[in-house]
């Protein structure tokens, strides 16, 4: 019986730091980020790819990191919520979320921030409808989204 390879070494750059780790082939990217690297800012809210709590930016594209295997991110550059602030200083979007009470429990917030970051990069001055479309993949169960729309709008001004 030949041995089946079930793990492999990958190299991923997250928020500017390069990590080289052996990972199980079946491990999800979100579990790699949270469990193996202890970057626990990105969250998990579902098991079907619906909630967006795990949203991160991989090589410039917004992805739900529960929908990728860690091995698929080999060689990639990943941005997570931990990379948004400049040192201790919140970035414009983070500050806008705080100012507009766009978070309650804060569980969806990291994913929301990454989706909004991707949206504003692609479209720096989105209309209200474009903001809603940009956040359609992220569930928030606390705020009803209204204050999140306000925050994203404020950050885009």
């Amino acid at each position: 019986m030949s041995t089946v390879t079930t793990s492999r070494s990958i190299k991923v750059t997250i928020n500017g730091t390069t990590y080289e780790r052996e990972v199980e082939a079946r491990k999800l990217l979100i579990h790699f980020i949270r469990d193996d690297l202890d970057l626990t800012g990105s969250h998990i809210g579902c098991d079907t790819g619906n909630c967006g709590a795990c949203s991160v930016i991989v090589d410039g594209s917004l992805v739900k990191s529960c929908m990728l295997l860690a091995v698929q991110a080999d060689g990639a550059t990943v941005e997570t919520v931990e990379g948004l602030a400049h040192g201790d200083e919140l970035n414009k979007l983070q500050q806008a979320f705080k100012d507009h009470h766009a978070l309650q429990c804060g569980y969806c917030t990291p994913g929301m921030l990454m989706s909004a970051t991707a949206l504003l990069r692609a479209n720096p001055h989105p209309s209200e409808d474009e903001i809603k479309k940009g956040l359609q993949g992220n569930i928030c169960r606390c705020t009803g989204y209204w204050n999140i729309f306000e925050a994203v709008k404020a950050a885009s001004e």
Binding site: C46, N50, C51, C105, I139, R141
Partner: protein, 823 residues
Amino acid sequence: MSTTTAPETTEVEAPAQDWKGQSVPRKEDRRLVQGQGVFVDDVKRHGMGYIHFVRSPYAHAHITSIDVSQAEEMPGVYGTLTGEEVAALTDPFFQISSVPGANLKDYALAVGKVRYVGEAVVAVVAETRERARDASELVEIEYEPLAAITDARHAQDDGVPTIHDDAGGNLMWHGTYEWGDLDAAFAEADKIVTIDELHFHRFNSTPLECDGALVEYNRGVGQWTIHTNNQFPGFAAIMMGPAMRTGLDKLRFVTQDIGGGFGNKITSHPQLVACCLLARKLGRAVQWTEWRTDFHMSMSHGNERWFHETEVAVKSDGTLLGFRTKALDDAGAWLRYEPLGGVIWAQVTPGMYKWRNIRVDFTQVATNKAPVSPNRGYSRMQHLWFTERVIDIVAKELDIDPVEMRKRNYIKTEDMPYETPNGCVYDSGDYARMLDIGLELIDYANIDQRRLEATARGKLLGVGIGSTLDSGTNNFGQSRMINSELQFSGNNEVATVKLDIFGEIVVTLGTTPQGQGHETTAAQVVADILKCSVDDVHVRAGHDSYWNSHAGFSGTYASQFAVTGLSAVKGATDLLAAEIKKLAGAVFGGVPEEALELADGGVRIKDNPDAFLPFMACGAIINANNAGLPEDLGVTLNCRYVYRPPFEVPDIERKFGNLTLTYATQIHVAVIEIDPETGAYDIVDYAAVDDCGKRINPQIVEGQVMGATAHALGAATHEHYAYDEDGNLLTPNFYDYHVPHALDMPPLKTAATESPSPFTPLGTKGMGEGGGAGIHAICAAVQDALRGHGDAIVSDSCNPYHRVWEMLQAPAEAGGRVSVVDA
């Protein structure tokens, strides 16, 4: 004024220039927007094992055999736990119910039988999540399937299977509530309106973070540390301690950030027991993070309730005299917090209306569905939906304008405090004024014009009002109406406030916030008393039962923090302020307290502001430089206060008494447009008016109003835990269970009035659960839009597009059945 048993009135503080009343930015946000919160799944320990629960694929079946040997042999697997072990190591959980529900034998894992799809049967622990999941598939369980009951209406039919043999049938609890004089009311009535059946559907709030725990066992002292997101550790402890045959001090609960709760995280005690047993058995830390599908299948569904044979006594002018109804509650497979839903509704017995003759025959049955547990608006929402439906159905039948109907029957502000027929005391509020504000926000004055415009576009416009009460600060004595043997009553919450050695102001709460901003609002209350900045106040994040800042009812649930939590904070801070003055008086050589004042982060002599002692000096003197202080000084600068609301034990015979301290109010008005071709509808205008007394932080209050509104709109239009007849949940994840997304959100207008509660130290009322108003408003709006288009009666709380379409096609079959007779 018709009050006889109002609690003692306390004076409300003047607001001038306080931190209270301002939308102070939240202290919590800085960490949360940086991904620096600590949620339960973020907590890790060296060598910890991951738990995966093997769950029942059957709604009802005998377990004939369980074989875990293959799973245990898999490399990387640390061990397993079965129901048989649980039954040997623990006692069944204490039951709140009187008989027959009292006889249930509920354990952490299924023992001998499964009773719903998703019930946990075996727990497997392995070195990774993936391994635990793989190993779970190697657990061999043989079942002998039984017929399932999924419709509460047939749970007591002849020949149906019995879910709990110990209870001797599917009836769990029954009670009759009657107040006033029903015979006289029905004799006085001009009309009697009969409503055949109303149905409040099954859903819950689906917090984005699922349940979880990391549990460590300290073998030397026999103590467990439970890092969890359970939102009512006091309740978990009294459930777990006796079952685990251990004292409560051996169960240390720790929380920090919790990703939403909404009541759904109260009843995770069975899983926590499984975690504790495994941590001890395996000699290592274990962690459990619930999968989304597991949450949907097994956690805290909201109470599904039917109302049958409702009869309403009403005068021709719409004056409501009374009603009688038969409520039937579907508890699901276990009574995890139930049958408390069988009394909680009585906090708001008459809704917001003046009728005084009411009879409710309440039955709760078991079904082969997930157990129900508290869900935002717990049990009051169901009852208030019922009263609001009754109002709009009667208004329609009598051809009275729904606004008129409400104003004629609302309890009036001049009657506050108002004692309801069952002895609850509504503290304050002006419902009619709130309704006017709501109507103005949606431009009700021009609604006829807008209706015409909509018609011209081929749309059916409807307006609906939902008025609700968010009763808060429970008197737990109401549980005795469920079971007279229970020894619970009143309520409490704890806070400690201290000055530390360098003058740091440190506040510790007994609560378990899940996004309500307790760190911020507590700091506002403290800063006002100590005359310092909110930035100087350090409020510890989360809950730790080893902080000695909790009591039996500590937690965050049931709309009470602004009363119980903040009153405890106020009490502790007042004590600290007095101690600071006492200390300063001694240091200044015998200056009386009256001659001193707090200001600028310290204490000074009023007439001689140069004599100033900063908090830093106070903290240092007491903690590290105390030689020579008077022996009898009695100052520790570490003050603990337990707030206890003024309650009496209710009269169990008459089912009479004040069941909650405050009654926040919400009036929502919805305008919808239905496309008659498809039944699809848009909410085109929406107003939410809230009154929760004094608002400590208006922005946080508005956030709660918004969130609760979103929950209501989701529930009213889509969210539904639907089961097939074999007991399979049809909506076990966010694919099938559609919660509102960004594009679903209608325009929203909010407004607030402030009617301070005369019964609470800060004039506040607990709030946050008022979203039920949205469900009523949508139901009423749909019914209004269908006027002249089949005239269906809306009889279900969930109205997805296909149901609206059915009501348009076949109003008599798809809508409710109502009759009116002249009395």
